[in-house]
């Protein structure tokens, strides 16, 4: 794998209140597809607040599967199909060419049209238009990226998704949400000093985030509606109330409670608050994650002395051990396709990395290779193509990093200000 192919510093209007994430690509795949994203045409008088073609190029580059051709190398700048001369793009070895135009629409928002051409076969392969409000230029650009990505790879793009994460500034903890590229960070919940917020988890419909807050001086589980900020407390038992994970049908949370003396996995119905105990063991049982069919729950347990990952079938209550390699395996998260799970895997040298284990074969693939070896909190993009996790950079600052599931592309999202951790990748937004 090639290291340090390019460093990309992204965007972002700066405001002292918002700690922004900056993306640095630290490695890339060997043969990304060359693609030309021509500057977006705009007939307005004032300059646009965002450059749509730059956002699209950055999106595609970050996926690791594309190499956008630099604007300065382009021989022409077509804005309509009749202006496209394929030889201009063949010379640059571009496999695809994208042209676009944005204009003001009747509602005061924006209308974006874009077309994509297959340079070698000299034919148009995409022709789409979309409208957005005044503050949605970035959304329009991400939509365009999603369409391009899907047309070429056959896989749905995740550029319009969000990430939730926790940011710490001194004693203050903030539950944040940003675009998948780290832009437009928004505050969802801010703590009082010394009262941690942790474990954000998206509901399957993307409308709610469950998390743990110490605002009562002890941990309690809350569910917050993302759009309105309205919240409800789900549990507040004595002891641990932790690690909420939504069931695939969105009706229940799997959680950890230690109200009866030691940490056990429970499910709680979000509507009725009805509790059901799942595990029963004097060891630590923690960090539940549902299988795709909702019939079983993976969890971390030290019932065999060291933390390892187990699976319990809800109908039978029978637990079964899943991980056997390494002294410490924890925090399982089932992948969106349901074929396996990502987790924290400690190597013999004591370094923590994120690994993937396939259910069928039990084979393990280590996906991260940070020097610091403090990788944790894995979360997988809804298209299953990329993993995000928390780690520390060389300065000891908490950052988010991402790696493609084939471990070929990585990028970091350090925050300009605080320490960031516990990323949670949203589901697809419709």
């Amino acid at each position: 794998m090639k290291r340090i192919l390019f460093i990309l510093v992204l965007l972002l209007a700066s405001s002292p209140l918002r700690a922004e994430l900056i993306i640095e690509i630290t490695s890339g795949v060997d043969n990304p597809t060359p693609i030309a994203i021509v500057p977006t045409g705009w007939n307005g008088t004032a300059a646009l607040e965002e450059s749509i073609n730059d956002i699209v190029a950055a999106d595609l580059r970050r996926s690791g599967q594309f190499r956008p051709i630099p604007q300065r190398d382009m021989l022409s700048s077509p804005s309509k199909a009749s202006e496209v001369f394929y030889r201009d793009w063949r010379i640059l070895k571009a496999e695809y060419l994208v042209i676009s135009n944005v204009s003001q629409n009747a509602q005061g928002g924006y209308h974006l049209e874009f077309e994509m051409f297959d340079v070698f076969n000299e034919r148009k392969v995409l022709d789409l238009a979309v409208d957005g409000a005044r503050d949605q230029l970035r959304d329009l650009a991400h939509y365009m990226s999603d369409q391009i990505y899907q047309r070429i790879t056959g896989i749905r793009g995740v550029f319009s998704t969000r990430i939730a994460y926790v940011e710490q500034l001194g004693e203050i903890y903030r539950l944040m949400m940003a675009d998948a590229d780290g832009a437009r960070p928004r505050l969802l919940k801010e703590s009082r000093p010394g009262e941690p917020i942790l474990s954000p988890s998206w509901s399957p419909d993307g409308r709610y985030i469950a998390y743990v807050s110490f605002e009562t001086t002890r941990p309690a589980i809350y569910v917050q509606e993302v759009a309105t900020g309205s919240r409800q407390q789900i549990t507040n038992f004595e002891g641990l109330n932790g690690a909420p994970a939504w069931s695939p049908d969105g009706r229940k949370l799997a959680i950890t409670l230690s109200k009866d003396g030691n940490p056990e996995i429970y499910t709680v119905d979000v509507q009725t608050k009805e509790l059901r105990r799942v595990t029963d063991h004097y060891a630590i049982d923690h960090e539940p994650s549902w299988t795709a069919d909702g019939k079983a729950i993976l969890f971390t347990s030290n019932r065999g002395a060291k933390p390892q990952i187990y699976q319990v079938t809800l109908a039978s209550g029978r637990p079964e051990r899943l991980t056997f390699v390494g002294p410490y395996n924890a925090k399982p998260v089932v992948t969106p396709d349901g074929k396996g799970f990502v987790f924290i895997h400690r190597d013999e040298g004591g370094r923590d990395h994120i690994a993937f284990q396939e259910f069928k074969t039990g084979n393990i693939r280590v996906l991260t290779q940070t020097q610091v070896g403090l990788d944790e909190s894995p979360t997988v993009a809804p298209n299953g193509a990329m993993l995000m996790y928390a780690t520390k950079n060389r300065q000891g600052k908490g950052i988010l990093a991402a790696v493609s599931m084939d471990a070929a592309t990585t990028f970091d999202l350090p925050s300009k200000q605080g320490d960031v951790r516990e990323p949670a990748w949203s589901p697809f937004r419709n």
């Binding site: 641990l240 924890a330 610091v372 000891g396």
Partner: protein
Amino acid sequence: MVNNSFKQITGLACALLLMAGCATTSEEDMADQQDQTTQQQDQGRVGAAGNRGVTPSQQQEEVQLDRVFYFDFDSSILKPEARAALTAHAERFKSNSDAVRLEGHADERGSREYNMALGERRANAVADFLVLQGVPRARIEVVSYGEERPARMGSNESAWSQNRRVELD
């Protein structure tokens, strides 16, 4: 380990000095000791006790007794050296009716959520010991902060060993 015994000796030395009515303990020594033990608590009680008109008997008690108890990596087993101080704390709790709050902590390695459970285990180990010494369980509150509130910043064993702890409030 080294740090811990050093601290105990320092604590004992300070206590002896104070008992002898000696006011020569430098601010720096005290600050250093404080840094190693109870960063968040006891700010005024220990640090500048002599200067703030706290009665001598309180001084002795606060300075003598460790309020932070350290644990080995991935372990929630109470170390033998914690017993003396905890026994003395237990005697004190039995003679009053104060609520006891135990805060469990973990170092940053491994899973953030699993570390919440580990911190709770550690605090429970201290709680169990106090209960065995006769402190009513109902008066003890156990809260784990996992790795969220480190006493010492840094990603090395010296910081980690200071962060695997239970603080007695």
